[in-house]
């Protein structure tokens, strides 16, 4: 791969003409989606509009029938979850991400623990230090990385799940309903986290039913309706009512 061929105008994510049929139902009928560097895109649409399927394709979990997915200009269509992750796509699934019986640092380092090569002994001290540093960078206030995740609130757990995805240094972070089931203050915390992540240059695709959240963090809305691109707008062009109207296909 030659460097320098990618100019900044290449979008981070480019999905073109995506189609998917599940049996008789055509869920996606030629959808396009582009996401720029550090951009926060709110992907909205009514239930069944195809938002989650589209994001599962980006994460490599679902293969499109036709269409093209490019990340930084490199084709990624249908190459599987591992390739998607290697290309820098991280998806946070609510409640699937964490081990309740493992502490905060353990969850952040799950699968890539730091250990001393000779004795195979886990370097607990360093993992706790680095976990605390990572959390501080993201302004996540968790005072003790030795706490078990099971004892924490929904918002804290969501924050840890996002922090974990961020420590993989992704190019694109996909969040599916990150604020569902959170208390008001925790929602604010999660939104702030999304802002922080995007200022670090990470692109974010946010799926949520809480449309008011989108007005706080999204740079652009992409509205899907019955499997096609319906509208595209910025928060300054519309209001909550306008967004709801667009979601209903009008």
């Amino acid at each position: 791969m030659t460097s320098g061929t990618r100019d900044l105008s290449t979008p981070r994510v480019e999905m073109r003409g995506i189609r998917k049929r599940f049996g008789a139902l055509e869920v996606l009928r030629g959808v396009d989606l582009t996401v720029g560097r550090g951009e926060v895109v709110g992907l909205v649409g009514d239930n069944g509009a195809g938002k989650s399927t589209l994001m599962k394709m980006l994460a490599g979990a679902v293969v499109p029938d036709s269409g093209e997915i490019r990340v930084d200009g490199t084709a990624l269509t249908g190459s599987g979850p591992r390739a998607a992750r290697a290309a820098g796509i991280e998806m946070v699934y609510q409640d699937l991400a964490l081990c309740n019986d493992v502490d905060v640092a353990g969850n952040l380092f799950l699968g890539r623990e730091i250990y001393r090569p000779l004795s195979r002994r886990l370097d607990h001290k360093r993992m706790h230090e680095e976990a605390a540093k990572d959390l501080a960078t993201l302004h996540i206030r968790i005072s003790d990385t030795r706490q078990l995740v099971a004892t924490m609130s929904g918002g804290q757990r969501q924050a840890i799940a996002i922090a974990r995805a961020v420590t993989f240094e992704p190019k694109v972070l996909v969040l599916d309903e990150p604020t569902a089931a959170l208390a008001a203050r925790e929602v604010e915390m999660t939104l702030q986290l999304i802002r922080d992540v995007s200022t670090r240059g990470v692109s974010v695709v946010l799926i949520t039913h809480r449309l008011q959240d989108l007005f706080e963090v999204a740079d652009r809305f992409v509205v899907l309706y019955e499997g096609v691109n319906h509208r595209q707008m910025t928060p300054s062009e519309t209001d909550l009512g306008g967004l709801v109207t667009a979601m209903m296909g009008k």
């Binding site: 019986d101 250990y115 968790i142 030795r146 929904g154 804290q156 915390m189």
Partner: protein
Amino acid sequence: MSTETVTPPTGRADRRGARQDFVHRNFGVLSISAVLAVLFVFFSVQTDAFLTTNNLVNVARQVAPTVVVAVAMTFVITTGNIDLSVGSILGLSAAALAIVAESGSAVVALVLALVLGLGIGLVNGALTAFGKLQSFIVTLAALTAVRGLALLITDGYSTPITSDFLLPIGNGRLAGLYTPTWIAVVVVAAGWYVFNHTRFGRYVVAVGSNAESLRRAGVDVRRIQLAVLTLTGLVAGLAGVITAARLASGSSNSGTLFELEVITAVVLGGTALMGGKGSIIGSAIGAVTLGVISNGLVLLRVDVYWVPITQGLILIVAILLNARLFSGISGQRT
């Protein structure tokens, strides 16, 4: 609860949280230690023979096979699996050790007994991890089949062991304690280290806690399941060697209901049957507690049939305490 995000790091609520976390994590060990202490004092007061060096050294030898297998079983149960075949593997290993030692080399007999355990564990693990079968069913089948195999090769008779190489494994002494006790000490120490201080131990907990999360983190969950079940097989083989060497005889009947004693010990020690939480030290103390109960009751000249009854009752009480107090203290959110 005291886990609010705004709590400053040095807050009092935070220290209370840390203390709760300590109790939360060690509740099983603390409660079984208390039970053991009470039993210890009770038997010491009630009998003359209990609190004597001779008796305690003997108890420490008797409980060794249970302790050793309970350590391995803790790994299995923490992943959310179970191994019901350890008693049958113990019997087969003991029988094979005696038979092969009688007709040939003692070293070959020892290696064979251990390899048999390892091999059966490997089959259990492969069927569970790669065959996608429940470990309960797989090891239940092995419990029956392996016991049958042990009966088949012995014809139901026990075989004496006379080898000067093998007998010390059961009866040798070092610094006052018997070899089985030292083996148990080494296994507990190694198990504790691996469980708490290596990636493998971390993944064992993660498999039982949220296997999907571990899988997404890029870890092959099947290899962890294969490893833990192979380990119990090997260690059950070792327990068979220890038992046969101590009794100077290998019998296909040894280790009957041994699996239940081991599982009882592990659960007494605070390991969750649903997985995700385990304690090696707890399991060891649990096994010692069961040994102390049977020893103490015998010394009290209570009818020997009271031993399993008492062990069963103590198990129920311990689990009730765990379930009730535990949920109250930890305040776990799900």
